[in-house]
Symmetry: C3
Subunit: 435 residues, 3 copies
């Protein structure tokens, strides 16, 4: 028994063994059909959904992307009654702020300029709360305070504002912004911006597969041919053109461009690169979609605007005096989002998907077992075949040993015998000593 | 045998069959309790962790987001001993640089202006290494060189700097920046920026579920009511207010705002939208948290600053002379990160989670098998019941056929018989010819 | 039978039971070896690939990151034949536009300035299509039109352009940009930008593990020592230096820096933090890599450029006249991408990986079953051992009851008996009434 040769052989024997579950092979039309149907559902799910539809045979890589944008377009505005604007031509360097942004660009559509501000004293914005005064006493008490929404600390004086109105004086960038001439405008200052075009240059890479693509396809003979194309969802060539008319972007997103211009808004441009690299890389093509990211139907806090200033100095009496032109710029932010992934055949995910699919086949067996063992009239017959009832020494006996008999009443004698045969008898245990 | 009718029927028969494993049903208190306990652990894990806690019954979608920010606030500074600053009111157009950024904003808190620089000749910054000179000879030898950290190529002349110091002359933007008057300032130039507010407008979408939300809730009656709210973590209404006082952001991140202003820093504002769309969409609410992204406790390279310039020309003797105002701006970058996902009930992930859970139940059986077959005193009795020992023709026989006998000694005769019965005898194989 | 005591005991009994599949234990060298080999493959896959290589024993967290950049460098350009440029020193505030960007920076390498533009009338760009005229008649007909690619609406006049050429006059920012003096330049205006350095400050956090790191390591004694380091892939200390020479970035990406400067380009700087937090956190170090994101080998739309303007006003006859300097800036966009994840030991993923591994072991059994039951000569012998053939009442009978006999011909009588014994006889079902 302690023979080392014996143990060696026993160890070797382990390599030449193989365990497989014993199976009850039930021939039954009813259960068979249910079983095959459930198996079909599971196999379909694996094959169609997990492997075919979700491309379970591929490994994937996310896109790495670079986006640069270039807006083009000129508008002319003529507002003789607003001297700050007057007769003006606006170009890219005027309305794209900042001039270069990572994966985004802003197009100014409306503007309230306040030209020639300098640090000095002037009347505060009369629309500010509690700023009206009748004499210096009121303002003197608030001296040094910056009113909520105000433009600078009060100097303590009460001065004339527009008309007969008197307001407290401030020290700050003067004169303060005055939006009233722009209140009743029915169209934005930069009317015509819907015809601006933006060229979105997008270079992508799937590093894992070493595939590089760009959104300028080889459909164009030369720069002129290319420069004349415009994106158009319904045209087989046009839908790959990376030059977009701003109005087309709005229309495709289901937005009225004019709703964006007076109050501003945020649009998203999505470039989707979903590529199946098992096919030719030439089929790896971008798809464009557009969406308004802020909703326009709010009363509170609509649109998008911000203030910026151009600063400069002017030499007066041989010293520099600092000035600035303040602009309240309203417009559309376009955010460019590049998404996508590429898939390519790989052995590992396929094996894993098939493996987990086979594991799920056990579910069909479980469902059929429930039917066979609990629902069919012949359930006790099948239970007998499936189960080998073994009574351990410490079995929990139901109703003092009569229960097994009870449960089996009416079954064949061979079944009764089974229960008897397999009850564990402590005396059998003598062989436990040899290990 | 080759009867096609037979084969057809055999094929049909396949659809009316069903295989289920034969099971040894062991009645034993000890093993039963272990078994049920392990099953309970696994089922709890599936039900509580994978399905309930990790929401295994939902499919998920990531958030699509747009962020725009608007800072408000005015500070007044009065530095009579620094003429470049003097008496000044600073507003948004002065301290937010660039005026509009995608998902981020910078608030300048400290500044070193150098006004009226023009391309000309002047003395180099005296703090630069090896720049001091006694006469032109030294500089002449370095003519054309740009010193490390210098502001332009040396002209070759040695000129007067501050005090009795002589340094080499450069050609470039002159005069060069001089930070010395700002060295001993104990508070930043824009003191009071902690009271600035920022309104963060965040519109999100879960495209898969077609759910759009924004962080301005319907808690407010009108613009004024809304405009007066301030974010406050401890207030049931205030914690949804998207207007933040900069100091509150710092406090909530556990940072002293004053630590950020003199040297600058980087703060992150996280907006988290974790939504359970099985509930009302009104419960899909943002949660705000804040964090300092750079650490302030470093000696090397603390804080955040950059240089920018306002450029302009001045007409002198009817020609334009180009000037610029250079600013070394120190301040706080706020980066807004929107994260979140939404979950909604879906059949597929639930099925997959239940399926993989059932597969894991096999682990309980494996553990119990180890106990029953290797650890219990009655292990040989159970082994007999579980295993049907089959000797293939090419079985690896341990110690020339006596070993199986040996192993079984002491077991009942029926067990010995089992080993004998199932040895494979080549003669049985006659039926192999019919396939 | 309806005794509640009986049911209670039956319910209890459920807790003291344990089911385990009955197993056919086949001793066969051939099948055993195949079985063990397949098990080895699966266990290796689990242990080596899923657990060791893919770190299946860890839970992961994605990196949260903040990036700030600081470019340094001065170039001097001397173009006596281009008065707009002339003799000039360029510093950071001149060539980094905008001065501060979130995770990106732009370095201008080439520029076409158009100084002193003002809103007025001048001759249109002669390179524009259909702009040439002989007299006012042609232009008059187009009055108010903005030509494609033009700079403003036509005034209707035909005026002198360069040389003997006559073109229509426009109203807009005048004079218009004239790129012709820059056409034949063989090197960029800002020659020498390859020596600029950029200091990329990157602070990261793995929030789940509360680990914060930054890319300035404790390798440097003081600011001077640190400031003198330069990134170098091949140096054990230098590869962690976060100060990069632009030319080194290009070289490491396999790009000739000079290819980027004349036409511009887009580079990506990838900072990878892949950290195993089971090891010391000091081993959590950044790795830098570089890549050109746009390809330079295109005819159509090469490089990267944009236009921006500095705006200012000049006092002429005591009123402000608005001017601007327009710049067409060409250069390199550097996009900084921070990626990475940290892993740390966790119990749950380990359990799940082991569990799914054990489930996959069933695949070895399936494969061996196919061999044993369908391919081996002794297949029928093994089938008999594995399968218990049970005929349900509604079994699909192949060739009227002779088929099972037929199929079993040549097998031992005990096998024949099996088929007979287990056919379901409706009379057996009497016990079905007790539930």
């Amino acid at each position: 028994m302690a023979d080392p040769k014996h143990w060696l052989r026993s160890g070797f024997a382990l390599f030449f063994e193989y365990n497989t579950p014993r199976i009850v092979h039930i021939r039954s039309k009813k259960v068979g059909i249910i079983n095959r149907f459930l198996q079909l559902v599971i196999i379909s799910y694996i094959a169609v959904y997990a492997i075919y539809y979700k491309k379970g045979y591929q490994e994937f890589d996310d896109v790495q992307s670079a986006v640069t944008t270039k807006v083009k377009g000129i508008v002319f505005s003529n507002y003789s009654h607003i001297p700050e604007i007057g007769m003006r031509t606006w170009d890219v360097a005027d309305y794209v702020i900042p001039p270069q942004e990572n994966s985004a660009f802003f197009v100014m559509t409306n503007v309230i300029p306040t030209l020639g501000q300098t640090q000095s004293m002037c009347s505060e914005d009369p629309t500010i709360k509690n700023i009206k005064c009748e004499n210096d006493d009121y303002c003197e008490r608030l001296k040094g305070t910056i009113m909520p929404g105000g433009n600078g600390p009060l100097t303590g004086k009460c001065v004339n504002s527009t008309g007969a109105l008197k307001v407290c004086e401030i020290y700050g960038w003067c004169p303060v912004e005055n939006g009233s001439p722009y209140k009743n405008l029915t169209q934005p200052i930069l009317a015509g911006s819907q015809n601006f075009t933006v060229f979105i240059k997008n270079n992508i890479e799937f590093p894992k597969f070493d595939v590089r693509r760009r959104n300028i396809l080889d459909l164009y003979e030369n720069d002129t041919d290319f420069g004349n194309c415009r994106w158009n969802r319904n045209d087989s060539k046009g839908k790959f053109c990376p030059i977009f008319v701003l109005n087309d972007i709005a229309k495709d997103a289901g937005v009225n461009y004019d709703d964006l211009t007076l109050q501003g808004g945020v649009m998203q441009i999505i470039i989707d690169w979903t590529c199946n690299l098992d096919q030719s890389v030439d089929n790896c093509l971008p798809e464009y979609s557009f969406r308004r990211l802020d909703r326009g139907d709010y009363v509170i806090s609509r649109g998008f605007n911000f203030r910026y200033a151009d600063k400069f100095a002017v030499k007066e009496n041989n010293t520099f005096v600092q000035y600035r032109n303040l602009y309240k710029a309203t417009g559309i932010v376009f955010v460019v989002t590049v998404q996508g992934k590429a898939g390519k055949f790989s052995f590992f995910p396929l094996v894993i998907n098939i493996g987990s699919g086979l594991a799920m086949l056990a579910l069909a067996t479980i469902a059929c077992d429930i039917i066979v063992l609990y629902l069919l009239k012949a359930r006790n017959f099948y239970r007998d075949k499936k189960y080998l009832d073994v009574q351990g020494q410490d079995a929990f006996r139901i109703l003092e040993e009569e229960s097994p008999q009870d449960r089996m009443e009416g079954s064949s004698s061979s079944i009764k015998k089974r229960n008897v045969t397999h009850s564990y008898d402590g005396n059998l245990e003598g062989d436990g000593t040899d290990t």
